[in-house]
């Protein structure tokens, strides 16, 4: 558990592909669609990537706020669908956005918990002396899906988000993070470059039961610890912005934690599960109501989890743009 001082979330932007897919119910999938709560998703074309979406979101912040590329001291790209096996996508983004060569740039391989982990990592850099951090979280999981797998093919959408964290006195965030790698196989994509006797395929596979049980075991405890560590009660939090895993899971978690579902902003109905982008995307989707202290929680692939409590009262939240 960490409280990091002099950190402010300056701005948040989100970009989704223009291309949409509606989930049409039939005899084979109607129960799945009802449970996951996804009505439509935005998915990339073959010539679009998570990097493209994140760059568009970052450029939107530069266009609409007082901060520019030259103000950025570090770029963190959180994704499980990077541009290349190597180099790090953050290096390419530094060049495309025209950010200084004196910048720190690296990738982080995390998904569902990627945004909240990223906020923690960016805050640490601010404590090290960097003034402004560009945190990019985006995934194009639709490219990794087996279209015959109902448990994933109806669930995932694509998005890229940009968040700028700045140094600011009397502003702080608190973070709680954790991992249980024994469950690493619950959400997985094989890697043909790793030590394997047999390479299966390149599709994402997910054991929904294992993921759900893990979530119910860990997340209510995470929320309790997060509030306790910050000396806050549930009522002190304006909104609980959770990773948009699926609608049934969100409702079950709200019930388990004992929080009115009204305080859980939802974007999964319009955008699906967008992995590392889902929390900032939801904030942008619900920008008209998001204010005050917000508890953000990410959980899933790893299996890993993290939460961040931050005051978004002075955060510039932008409208979602399409690419």
């Amino acid at each position: 558990m960490y409280k990091i001082s002099n950190v402010h979330i300056h701005s948040i932007a989100a970009c989704v592909p223009k291309n949409t897919i509606k989930n049409i119910a039939n005899d084979n999938n109607s129960k799945v669609i009802k449970s996951i709560g996804v009505k439509m998703r935005h998915v990339v074309n073959d010539d679009q990537s998570a990097m493209d979406l994140c760059i568009a979101a970052a450029q939107d912040i530069f266009d609409q706020t007082s901060l520019n590329a030259e103000d950025i001291g570090a770029v963190i790209f959180v994704s499980q669908t990077p541009e290349y096996q190597l180099p790090a996508t953050a290096c390419i983004i530094q060049s495309i956005l025209g950010i200084s060569n004196d910048t720190i740039a690296y990738d982080v391989n995390l998904g569902c918990s990627g945004y909240t982990h990223g906020l923690f990592l960016a805050s640490g850099l601010i404590q090290s002396g960097v003034e402004n951090i560009l945190l990019l979280t985006g995934d194009t999981i639709s490219k990794t899906i087996d279209k015959n797998d109902n448990s994933t093919s109806l669930l995932f959408g694509d998005a890229g988000c940009a968040t700028i964290l700045t140094r600011k006195k009397n502003s702080s965030i608190s973070c709680v993070l954790g991992v249980d790698g024994s469950g690493f196989e619950a959400i997985i994509i094989d890697n043909k470059y790793a030590k394997r006797t047999s390479y299966k395929d390149n599709y994402l596979t997910m054991n929904g039961g294992e993921v759900f049980a893990f979530t119910l075991r860990c997340i209510p405890k995470l929320i309790k610890e997060s509030l306790s560590f910050s000396d806050l009660e549930k009522d002190d939090i304006s909104y609980f912005v959770f990773h948009q895993a699926n609608l049934f899971m969100l409702k079950t978690l709200a019930s388990s934690i004992g929080i009115d579902f009204e305080k859980f902003p939802v974007s999964i109905d319009q955008y699906g599960n967008t992995s590392s982008a889902s929390i900032p995307l939801t904030i942008c989707h619900k920008k008209s109501i998001i204010k005050g202290k917000v508890l953000m929680a990410g959980f899933g692939v790893g299996l890993s989890w993290s939460s961040v409590i931050a005051d978004l009262s002075d955060t510039k939240i932008l409208n979602i743009i399409e690419l």
Binding site: V32, S35, S151, N207, G208, G209, E210, F212, T252
Partner: protein, 71 residues
């Protein structure tokens, strides 16, 4: 928590009006989605988190009821 309460949760999970303890659960009705929904429903109703690996192997309602009781 008694057997009837557990049967109610199973019926709700399978979207059936009622359910018999003797009923078999084949893969047409007891699929991965039913497992996920049942884990959530049991958590809400009885504050218990079931082991999914055991749930996937269940063959009938009797086994399911016993799993919930033993958990």
């Amino acid at each position: 928590m008694n057997e009837n309460q557990i049967l109610d949760v199973i019926a709700e999970t399978l979207e059936m009006d009622s359910i018999e303890i003797t009923m078999d659960l084949d893969e047409r009705i007891w699929d991965s989605l039913a497992v996920v929904v049942f884990i959530g429903s049991v958590s809400n109703a009885f504050n218990k988190i079931l082991d999914p690996s055991e749930l996937y192997d269940v063959k009938n309602v009797q086994q399911l009821v016993q799993l919930v009781i033993d958990s």
